[in-house]
């Protein structure tokens, strides 16, 4: 596996997860969360600055038999966690095409 291949898998999985209704965004890293929080404060009333948020921050992919994909999502309130995680699991698995993959989905927060 080259780095490019893995990066492509990560990007595809992240895009698939973000398409699911109820996913607010993928869990950013600590720096991203601090940055978004500080930016929101500086830009009063305009909400978190997501322009700089890495869209694939909450996705980790490892090659193996099968491949594994860990997806950490932040849930949008009003959507049922179980239903959303199931949909994300299905979408991420589909993003791997014919390649067998074990998908783990975790709700890390809610907004």
């Amino acid at each position: 596996m080259t780095g490019d291949e893995r990066e492509q898998r990560v990007a595809a999985a992240a895009a698939a997860a973000l398409q699911v209704q109820g996913v607010a965004f993928l869990k950013p890293g600590l720096a991203g969360r601090l940055r978004a929080s500080a930016s929101a404060l500086a830009r009063t009333g305009r909400g978190p600055d997501r322009r700089r948020t890495d869209p694939a921050a909450g996705v980790r992919v490892r090659q193996g038999t099968p491949w594994t994909a860990e997806v950490h999502i932040v849930l949008q309130r009003g959507h049922r966690a179980l239903d959303v995680t199931r949909a994300v699991r299905s979408a991420v698995a589909d993003s791997f095409g014919e390649t067998p993959v074990r998908v783990t989905v975790t709700v890390s927060g809610m907004v």
Partner: protein
């Protein structure tokens, strides 16, 4: 229903609540005696160990995020930091964070008296983020065993507390969600962790309704929220009433239920020595 004469600090993994509560020797004292729950101390120790290991993020290349940031700050010139895509991304993220801090410092103060930034709000927001990041609690199972779907305890606890507070006069406190305490075994395998969970919620309630009625109402709201909003399988919901406060229109002191004469002050706090009422869902 059990009425205990001592109040113990919460042992739950609600990060914000726990942070504010005193703990001695790393293991909180408890109203539940050690004989009743012999594994609680072991549980806390195991959780602390797990959390210590889990505080730092390990990048896919094997480096710890803190090591990468430290090396970047010190300018060690380690070639790996520049060649590795993961370390490069972490360095770039740190750079963006630094940019944001500089942007904030360079922008105009938000107050009108020219005294500069009021850092209180910023500090509070940053600490909220850090607490949630560092104390997310346990992963709790969603769905079937084969599905590998989880929700972090802190996220689930938000839903539980919000459900409780949807009842008038109820203020939710510490919330622990996990396996039944008496069954907790450190380093449980994944399959073991997928058993139905057990909710323990502390609440302060107004004196306007009977305790059992409030507890039943809270339990029902929590059960509905856990089912409808989370879809999590819950075995039991225990409500612990840790405080009864007087409604603003009611100036009379309140006696403890079943304990005539054991009144409390008008401040609405529990008397010295504390008390609590536990209404178990068993």
């Amino acid at each position: 229903m059990a009425i205990n004469d001592e109040t113990r600090p919460a042992y739950g993994t609600d990060g914000i609540q726990d942070e504010l509560l005193p703990q001695e020797g790393g293991a909180p004292a408890g109203a539940i005696s050690p004989a009743e729950v012999p594994t609680r101390g072991e549980e806390d120790a195991a959780m602390e160990e797990t959390e210590d290991e889990g505080v730092d993020e390990r990048l896919p290349c094997g480096r710890l995020l803190s090591e990468v940031w430290e090396a970047e700050d010190q300018g060690t010139g380690d070639p790996h930091l520049y060649e590795c895509p993961h370390c490069s991304a972490a360095r770039a993220e740190l750079g963006l964070l630094g940019d944001t801090v500089r942007d904030v410092l360079a922008s105009e103060p938000d107050d009108r008296d020219g005294q500069g930034w009021d850092t209180t709000a910023l500090t509070a927001r940053v600490m909220d983020v850090v607490r949630l990041e560092l104390r997310p609690g346990r992963p709790l199972p969603l769905g079937e065993t084969s599905e590998d779907l989880w929700i972090m305890e802190a996220a689930a606890a938000k839903t539980v507390r919000a459900a409780a507070e949807s009842l008038a006069g109820v203020h939710a406190g510490a919330c622990r969600i996990g396996p039944p305490p008496e069954q907790f075994v450190p380093a449980r395998p994944t399959e073991e962790r997928r058993r139905p969970t057990h909710v323990e919620l502390e609440v302060a309630v107004s004196d306007l309704a009977p305790l059992w009625e409030v507890a039943d109402g809270v339990r029902e709201r929590v059960r509905m929220a856990v089912d409808h909003e989370l879809g999590m399988d819950v075995a039991a919901i225990d409500i612990r009433i840790t405080d009864i406060y007087a409604d603003e229109d009611d100036d009379e002191e309140i006696g403890m239920p079943g304990r005539p004469g054991h009144g409390r002050s008008g401040s609405g706090r529990a008397p010295a020595g504390g008390w609590e009422v536990t209404l178990d869902d068993r």
